[in-house]
Symmetry: C2
Subunit: 390 residues, 2 copies
């Protein structure tokens, strides 16, 4: 078909909803509806009526919405009074996007992950054609997502990075260094749109480049989540990922809010996974509900693929009875060096800190808290119900 | 809402399609359509018209389909002649299922995996209500899938097991032994509906039990794929999985056909992954297209989670430069025993065979073919383009 793979968008549309339980489907109702609309000179786009339903929805031009509602209210005056027709009203500021796809489900899934829920959706299989009605202010985001799925356009992933200390700044440099490769190999454009620490945040809707340190130094404003969520909404950024490279006990409390605002989460911060089991489980429920993911492979075993492997074994029904290993690179380094070298303990701890082996606060390592956290994280992957205090 | 979570099904429906490019959307066309249907006494269910479209589809009772088409053809006689309306026709033997869900995308995904593509689909977000029009002969399957997703009904996975030698029969026993546990823990009912080897097959739509050996012995008929595909279609089995526990070079050629018929594949058979790269890639394309999976973790490293771990590392951008290990349990056993015990080589090989350590044909191990296959499988996971002959 010549129209294959064309995306068409009409803006400034409105939906007129006509609701009447057990009323539609009677012979002649639909012709009364469309006669009334014709009489009022209303041009009708998408029509959606369900067989087992409470109503019919028709898409009209925004400037005709009021006329359409009035003409229907007049035609069904009697039925509105008696309550057979419960209500007739319009929803403005809508756009409709039409597309041809054989993978509609994938598009719907991507839209859902980006918190876009079409007000109306209809598909006719024979033509592979789908019409989606969404808010006017979501249409750019929808278009980007649809183009990525249909035309294989490079997918842009928008990153918000929190924490730019040792781990955080290394990751930023790695992302910038490998962005060209990643785009070529995976057709994914990793765009860093915000860099923050616990106090400040700096935005860049075009994406940060190698001069990010200057921008962080001179461009930062106070870090409020409201500003951040406002920023991503205004710019209709799709595919949002929060990367938490802090070791902050406070910041992790925001994870559920991020998920509800459409973010996936990647975290080197172990704290969330060691919060009381109720919070641990609630976040997973929130993730499920919002179709978002929370990845934290580096929490235990650093670069080794430990958590995923254990999860996989557990999920496939293996009974894991014992996990053996050295769970602290920093303690290994410190004790190994202290036992063979003639240096003060504090010197060696300082050295481990400088090499980036320890947590930002090395007392977390020395007290055993860090090892305890790692063991708790693994235990919970095995569905054991343990707490940090154990 | 009181109607939440109710699934409603109407059978014996037909769709009347009205197609006319650049014609619909003109003021008054819809009222002509519905007036004509009203005049003919046709009751209309689902209506779906797209804004950017070629047509309008309305659902009617099957026995009124002909009347509906005739009335529209009469009303639009002039436009049909001039070609503005290209065609008006009906599709019979349909059913419509109505449901309320906040996870429509998941249902659509499950339907798609089961090769069910609704002819018409419409969703009104405000009510969370979806109507799907499907073939009458798919409606039971659709109902099962929808009930699993909406009501959390136990999900039945229908298994077709090919190969009931050493590995195959052990797996059958394991499935039967653990089916109660799996149903409790995962809410999945593993149902073995067919057991085959290269020559024979026996069906059991109720699912095999502990007497499967008798049934295989006495109930088998010649193994033809046509019979099998006919059997699963007739019974509208959802969630089909082929389990290949043969070491057959011929049987693997059927994998693409199974995928096209809606099967996921689980295989201990290594052969497919060592076929020429073109076939290797084509199967993966077919899998992608059909949203099916092909799992073969036991191909290398038996029960160790090797393939998945390597895949994971590779996908996350790690550069894997070397994999070291012992790639043959059978050769290890044979040589270790031969070097310390005073036995004939053939005795020890026989012993390894009896213990189930070797391939069905131990020459595959001794010739090095088996190790070569394993290495090739790993190499291809890393996107290397190697052939078995290398």
């Amino acid at each position: 078909m010549e129209e294959n793979n064309v995306i068409t968008i009409y803006k400034n549309k409105a939906i007129v909803n006509f609701e009447g339980r057990d009323f539609l489907g009677q012979i002649g109702i639909d012709s009364r509806i469309f006669n009334a609309l014709q009489g009022a000179g209303v041009s009708v786009g998408v029509i959606s009526q369900q067989a087992i339903e409470n109503g019919i929805s028709v898409l009209v031009d925004e400037h005709q919405a009021e006329t359409a509602v009035e003409s229907l209210r007049k035609e069904f005056e009697k039925e509105l009074k008696s309550g057979i027709v419960s209500q007739i009203y319009s929803i403005d500021n809508l756009a409709v996007i039409g597309l041809v796809t054989d993978n509609f489900q994938k598009i719907l899934s991507e839209l859902q992950k980006n918190k876009i829920f079409p007000l109306l959706l209809n598909q006719v299989a024979s033509a592979g054609r789908v019409n989606l009605v969404v808010s006017d202010n979501q249409i750019d985001k929808v278009k980007n997502i649809v183009e990525t799925e249909i035309f294989g356009k490079v997918k842009t992933v928008h990153l918000v990075l929190v924490g730019h200390g040792n781990v955080g700044s290394t990751l930023i440099e790695q992302i910038l260094d490998s962005s060209y490769d990643i785009q070529n190999r995976k057709r994914i454009n990793l765009k860093i749109i915000a860099i923050a620490n616990s106090k400040n945040i700096v935005f860049n809707k075009g994406g940060f480049g190698s001069d990010w340190r200057q921008k962080v130094l001179f461009g930062s404003s106070e870090n409020t989540l409201q500003d951040l969520f406002q920023f991503v909404k205004e710019n209709q950024f799709e595919n949002l990922v929060l990367v938490d490279n802090t070791a902050s006990k406070d910041f992790v409390k925001n994870y559920p809010t991020f998920v509800e605002n459409g973010f996936d989460i990647v975290s080197s911060n172990k704290i969330f996974n060691t919060l009381p089991i109720q919070e641990y489980r609630n976040l997973r429920k929130t993730l499920d509900k919002n179709k978002k993911r929370y990845l934290y492979e580096t929490n235990v075993g650093a670069g080794l693929p430990l958590i995923d492997t254990i999860k996989l074994l557990h999920l496939s029904g293996e009974n894991i009875t014992r996990i053996k290993g050295v769970f602290s690179g920093s303690l290994s380094y410190i004790f190994n060096n202290f036992s063979v070298r003639d240096e003060k303990f504090s010197t060696i701890v300082k050295e481990a800190m400088d090499k980036g082996f320890t947590e930002p606060d090395p007392r977390e390592d020395l007290s055993g808290n860090d090892v305890a956290r790692k063991l708790l994280i693994l235990a919970r992957e095995l569905d054991l119900i343990n707490e940090f205090s154990d």
